[in-house]
């Protein structure tokens, strides 16, 4: 049995689902950031799988994946700075405690 596009897409879908579950279910803000990273990795995997199987030779998907990686790096840097600021203020990174903007 050869490896086809579907295999990679299903792996990426599973990775995305695991990341989404982590983002929605975890209480620690850093664990939520980890879930976001897993989801971004799944999207990159999709982009590169499509490049390989749909348009081989045309590397637009690779360029797009590089931009996603750059944005992910910026996102995790700002996210961690926010988490550290929140920790300094409230001595907690548990998102259940962060209800200051709740109605």
């Amino acid at each position: 049995m050869n490896v086809t596009l579907n295999h990679f897409l299903i792996v990426a879908a599973l990775l995305f689902g695991i990341g989404l579950y982590g983002v929605l279910a975890k209480r620690n803000a850093i664990a939520i950031l980890m879930g976001i990273e897993l989801m971004l990795n799944a999207t990159n995997l999709n982009l590169i799988a499509f490049t390989r199987y749909i348009t081989p030779g045309l590397l637009t998907g690779h360029v797009f994946a590089i931009f996603v990686i750059a944005v992910a790096a910026a996102e995790v840097a700002v996210g961690l700075a926010l988490v550290i600021t929140i920790y300094r203020d409230r001595v907690s990174v548990n998102v259940d405690d962060l209800n200051i903007m709740k109605w």
């Binding site: 929605l24 975890k26 950031l33 990795n41 590397l59 550290i84």
Partner: protein, 167 residues
Amino acid sequence: MTVESFVFWILALLTIGSALGVIVFRNLVHSALYMVLTFVGVAGLYVLLYADFLAAVQILVYAGAIAILIVFGVMLTQRRDMQETNTFGKLSPISGLVAFCLVAVISLSVVQTNWVALSDQAPPDSTVDLVAGLMMTNYVVPFEVAAILLLVAMIGAIILAKGERSR
């Protein structure tokens, strides 16, 4: 079973298994280590997809820089015992349902779609020069915007982490 599919199954199991480890483990440091393993597995899948440059970038940026950042975040925000630092919230069952439904819908649509290759070219041996060519011609404006975004994010992160009082 060809070598390619053998390698694919090993890498897929490694990636999915360690991604599950990120979620399941209740110690945040173990989750961070499993996240690095996930990134390495994804880099292996990139190699299998003939994306050599992106595999190197994945190892450097994700398994190197982002993992270090996350570990720093863990170190700076956990002062007590590391046990039970990565627990589930109240919404755990319903978010499991949401994630499962999403995966089911995506998998179903992936299987039912008839993917047609737009060209039957062989994938290039090395992607570095092609990616560099695209980055410096068609995508030079997004490239510059990404550079500015990284600069702004760096300054913003420094200002945020430095705090209001110490100014």
